[in-house]
Amino acid sequence: MSEVMKIKRRDFIKISGITGTGLILGFGLSAGARDKALTHFEPNAFLKIGSDNSIIIFAKNPEIGQGVKTSLPMIIAEELEVDWNNIEVIQAGLDSRLGAQFAGGSTAIKTNWQTLRTAGAAGKSMLIATAAGKWQISESECYAERGVVKNRRNKKQFTYGELAGDASKLKVPEAPSFKDPKDFKIIGTSKKGVDNQQIVTGTAEFGIDARKEGMLVATVLKCPVYGGKVASFDDSETKKIDGVRHVIKIDALGSVERVAGVAVVADNTWAAMKGKKALKVTWDYGEGASESSAGILEKFDTYLAKNGEIGLRDDGDIDAAFNKNEKAIEAIYEVPFLSHVPMEPMNYCADVKENECEVWGPTQVPGYVQRLASGITGIPRENIKVNMTRVGGGFGRRLMADYAADAITISHQIKQPVQVVWSREDDIQYDYYRPAGRYKLKAALDNANKLTAWYLNASTTSRNLFRGSQESPHTTEVFPDGFPAGFVPNFRMEYTPVKTVVPSGAWRAPGHNATAFIDQSFIDEMAHLAKKDPVDFRLEILGNEDKEMPYADHGGPTYSTKRLKNVIKIAAEKSNWHKKEAGVYKGFAAHFMFGAYVAEVVTLSLDANKEPHIENVLAVVDCGIVVNRSGAMSQIEGGIVDGLGAAMFGEVTIADGMAQQDNFDTYKMIRMKDAPKIEVHLVESKESPEGLGEMSLPMISAAYANAIFAATGKRIRKLPVQLSEVSS
């Protein structure tokens, strides 16, 4: 459908015989002929209405499983006032008219809310104006309903299709009026994923399913130590394999895209995979070969033994407070590297020609891929067409475009369309991991058992340090404004990044996936020290007064204690938190990130071997206005399962500079038997909508660990949880 996207707004071009969506219209046709031809009304790049009453809404962002191919069009459809069942949603390609197109930071809903409402409302207002003109009445005497403009005076009506041709002649209003949210018919309801039918029949196109005439398939063997180089290679066995066409040495780009290695290009995937296996490469591992998990942990400890290099916050007088108040706990928390392992392994297609290039595949950052392709090939960006397929999971992995760089580099060299396909081993070995970290915490209670001092000294590998970003290395690793900062009179936060060759990247709920575990676990420790109920303790810290707390990191600029307290209270109530039952153990955690408030309760029981089993998880979520209820619930459920899986099993360890895990036998994933029942409550809200792709994940590890403490008295300070140690 990318052909469609090239057609500029209100251009009248005659195209015949393309696809089943019913294209297009009459350029240079006589007036009489035009009436019979199919015409389209395109007030903007987001939607298109045909004189045959076809309604197409373009999905602007990459669909990585977060549901935006459904939820973003819902916003347009609402304001356009059309019947959801009568529209067709088409994935757009990269197109500057659509604004920023990426998947990251749970931003799609909140940053597009206004734009998409405007897009839909503009279309509707032009259709109403057209009808009013035809009837020679005022626009206020007309109204739109489910794809029809109606005349209040005489109940006459025009379908949108009947108005499409003439509506195209009007000027597009810049600030059309929006619906009153109380009149929403689509927003706030449950709409099923627009690609569901294609997905369940195997016809949905993911990146790995893209095909192009003459396309070859490539695999790339890269140095398992980041930064390593090919010293020499022997491809004699590879070249004996049927179907292998080229073996190419790929040089480093000098960027974080890890492309250096040896590529095997073949007629089909299996030949390319076999060819890669048959390669004999001698690597120059470089400095990274001495890196290990033990070495990184040692660096953490060296840093944590002294004050952090970067002071992030220093309220009150922490030293005096610790001197004065002896009721205190000091603890070290730890989180491991995690791999992203989206189910669709990394792959990408590129067709690089002399001065133009077409690419397609799974990415969270199509605009970045375009810039990257331009940098590699020297082809100007306007000549690089970026198509978007469905993406078989992102989780932050596909914010990096190294695998796209593979395809672009290889196609550029062999001048043929190429699909690069990574194995699962490649995926885990060449990943940019969730940063590992150790966190020294100390907190004290005053004589009234109130939290009076909180000290965090954190040392982690840093995503921003790794990629050479201008941003401070602590950014997206720790959050100086996160709870309980601002509520504790004496509060200090320090940070030291560990420089390592092991790549760090953004992993679903970056930073929060670690800090919510440590903060919400340590709060629980302090509550127990104070002999207070963990929920009451949190509410006591937040105080009776409702405040807007400053929050400088992404997700701010402020957060509301009223909304945070509200989700905590609802979760306590819905889970019967304060009701104690024999053999039933509960853990609590609540966290704010990216604009949304989530509280979770894990309930577990102990089996005959005293091993904990999760009975259920309850989540209360305030994300403002909910666009798609089914999609929202899905994201919350999925985030909980994903976060639990990471807490139970997720760990990448490093030896000799290489990841020691390389497939699902060594990198364990949560499976159906471990997935608990989940009950989700969405807070009814009129606040502006926030995203939901990440927010239910970060605190589940703490809720789980706190429940384990309630059941066994064993405090989990290190992930993943070792159940054998808990039950012993």
Partner: protein, 154 residues
């Protein structure tokens, strides 16, 4: 290279491929049946699940030379995409990214063939070879129950 005659989705295909080629890549690359997905290459994740004589197998680790019997892929599970599981999956709105779901459905279909009304435990056992990174397990379980009950929701 060697000649093979395969019965896939009740159709006969004569192909010429390397005998060690996994069935997965024959389906995807040779025959263009791309609904069966590549996930791990080692029979660990279930994304490539198809049926061989009614049993769920991992096609990524099943060489084409060993295929003796009738293969059914997601494309052949039902004529019109209306297998009770395919309908239930849509009704329950299971997919997030959607990549693993064809493999999940094929595993579930094999389960229902031998056990038309599975318990939660039966489902957990039968489906634990299939990974969903998005965490749609709860909806998968619900969709299997829905399909088992003939489409009626709980």
């Amino acid at each position: 290279m060697a000649q093979f005659s395969l019965n896939i989705n009740a159709q006969t295909y004569n192909i010429d491929v390397s005998p060690d080629t996994p069935l997965l890549w024959v389906l995807r690359d040779t025959l263009g049946l791309k609904g069966t997905k590549f996930g791990c290459g080692k029979a660990l994740c279930g994304a490539c699940t198809v049926h061989l004589d009614g049993n769920a197998i991992r096609s990524c680790s099943f060489p084409v030379s060993a295929v003796k019997g009738k293969v059914v892929t997601i494309e052949g599970l039902s004529e019109k995409g209306d297998h009770p599981l395919q309908l239930a999956w849509q009704e329950v709105d299971v997919p997030q990214c959607g990549y693993c779901q064809t493999g999940q459905i094929m595993s579930a279909a094999a389960l229902l063939q031998r056990n038309p009304s599975p318990t939660d435990k039966d489902i957990d056992m039968a489906m634990s070879g299939n990974i969903c990174r998005c965490g749609t397990y709860l909806r998968i379980r619900k969709a299997i129950h829905t399909a088992a009950k003939g489409g009626a929701d709980e």
